[in-house]
Symmetry: C2
Subunit: 356 residues, 2 copies
């Protein structure tokens, strides 16, 4: 398979050492992803001897490319500081491959903080972006819901929530194929006055940010609107609340699994219905989250990812490359930058490199 003549071909750099079950689950997941989709080429980024041994053990020597990297950001380290210090950290090398056009996307199921830091440090943010949100797609009952930020930035002011809204709307258009996604602000009640001071400010900020763009602000939504869907296609919140909610949804599905596990096998149809409805949401199966607002495609998966979950992350990264996600998000954010500049009395053509 040649990438030069195949517009669908996507080259994905994968952090070999990230995740609780690395490196085995990473190698197995990458093999699975490329077997299922021949238009994906994976480059494992990690210790070469380890990668080659694992491929050989599986009788797949040479099936995946390997690029050397031998440093890891430990859980106890400050991610930003560690990424600066460790030039050969696996995620930093993976980001470098994307920056240098040797890969189209990167995937890690390791530390979110380290991957985020590597992306910002090496790839940089898109114009208009001050923080990069993680976006996940929840397979909600009444249609998929993009939830962001799922945990990249633990604090967000009203301005940042407006950025997230634009990035999320752009993502929903690309990923879900919606012409005019409905955007909701996560709060504690659906009335416009509900919420903390940040949400009250953000309410007007989202109205202004989305005005005239192909998106509709539907006002406040609540915690149940994320798993149930139907009220909004995009739900905007800060990374603290988004992370707690996402893990709460995952944990609730785990609770249900445990409750029904002991039931009779006659119930297999019901169990299958439940499995089909929730498979993408269980920690072992989840397809990962896309980091938006970065000048490149980056997918971050659960630390607990199984090979199936790693494969889903790789496929999500490839799809995002094919969908030209980054230029789409960049265009919407450039619009926000231009408006702010106009509102601040600057002409519209100062250039795109100013972040607010």
């Amino acid at each position: 398979v040649s990438d030069a003549n195949n517009p669908r071909f996507a080259r994905v750099a994968v952090d070999l050492l990230g995740g609780d079950h690395a490196p085995e689950a990473v190698v197995d997941g990458c093999l699975l992803a490329t077997e299922e989709d021949h238009d994906i080429g994976v480059t494992l980024v990690g210790p070469v001897a380890t990668a080659e041994q694992l491929l050989a053990d599986r009788g797949r020597s040479g099936a995946l490319a390997v690029v050397a990297a031998d440093q890891v950001v430990e859980m106890h380290e400050d991610p930003a500081r560690a990424i600066r210090a460790k030039r050969n950290a696996t995620v930093r090398v993976a980001a470098r491959l994307v920056r240098d056009r040797a890969a189209d996307a990167l995937v890690s199921v390791g530390s979110t903080g380290a991957t985020l830091a590597a992306c910002i440090f090496t790839l940089g943010r898109l114009p208009g972006v001050t923080r990069s949100p993680l976006a996940v797609v929840i397979p909600a009952t009444n249609g998929p819901v993009v939830l962001l930020d799922a945990g990249a930035t633990v604090e967000a002011d009203a301005d940042l929530l407006a950025q997230f809204a634009l990035a999320g709307a752009a993502y929903a258009r690309v990923r879900l194929g919606l012409e005019r996604p409905r955007v909701g602000l996560l709060s504690v009640g659906s009335e416009s006055g509900k919420g903390d001071p940040t949400r009250k400010l953000a309410y007007d900020g989202l109205v202004a940010a989305l005005d005239g763009l192909p998106a509709e602000f539907v006002g406040n939504v609540e915690g149940h609107d994320v798993p149930l869907g139907g009220r909004a296609d995009v739900v905007v919140t800060d990374g603290f609340v988004g992370n707690v909610l996402l893990k709460g949804i995952e944990g609730t599905l785990g609770m249900v699994w445990k409750a029904i596990r002991g039931a009779d096998d006659a119930a297999s149809e019901l169990r299958s219905a439940f499995a089909a409805a929730t498979a993408e949401l269980t920690p072992e199966q989840t397809g990962g989250a896309v980091l938006l607002g970065i000048n490149g495609v980056a997918v971050i998966g659960h630390g607990t990812s199984s090979p199936r979950a790693v494969a889903s992350c790789v496929q999500l990264a490839a799809q995002s490359v094919r969908d030209r996600l980054v230029p789409h998000v960049a265009a919407d954010l450039a619009e926000l930058v231009a408006r702010r500049r106009t509102a601040a009395g600057f002409p519209n053509d100062v250039g795109a490199g100013v972040s607010t």
Copy 2:
């Protein structure tokens, strides 16, 4: 049944006009609660003619006491301002009955904000309490979890989270019968450095607040630890995050219900197992949340409460009276007040009425 000679007897004042299905669901729920437990006496608080007509329609004239109140706090009103202005608001009259010892507890399935305002205005806070958290019990897989604040206060600093921890631990001892409940701080990772600045400060604050008390601080917990349980008996967070998480859990159960509803009837055993495991969590069934830190027992239920849910709220209120919840919580909070006074250089015996 006479209350004077029966130490189990609990008199509960119930807001007749609160909730989406009021007043019918309230009357039906109160009748159900008193039929199931003859040691509960309910006083309906609302328009007398309405209450009497509803009781007569059910052939139960005189079965419940009625106290007149004819004002309601509308959803669009500022609750604190409305409660001050409306002397005859149903929740304010109910709180007055508790203050005047004409009732032992109050229940409302109406506006949380209005009930909270009425309790603070009429009953007052316990010493050491600056904000009153709502506590719910989640029937988690590995044992029940007290989650607080479930939505009373949308912002909380580290000091307030320490208050919530003490109130929650006291509640867990009383309600769950635990000698030494494990208390966790809800954050985005289990390591001690994880979270926003408030959580980082609160971490040390909880260590200090719980030191020497019959409770154990287990550090940070995550969103999934609430539905799954096992790591902490009490999970502490602000009312914004707690409300979003609680509704997210409820919504996820709703999502599962919808996914399995269409399955074959052969699956009834599985459906029953699921129902048993999650019944207390569905919005229609939930037993309500207890408002802690108030000088009286107050239970707030979902606006969507069915008669069954209203009955559960009334029974939870009665049980809290029998458990002497308020003196138990007050004792732990008094300990915190005493420590702060000592830390601030004041003698320990200044009196208990100072809030910090």
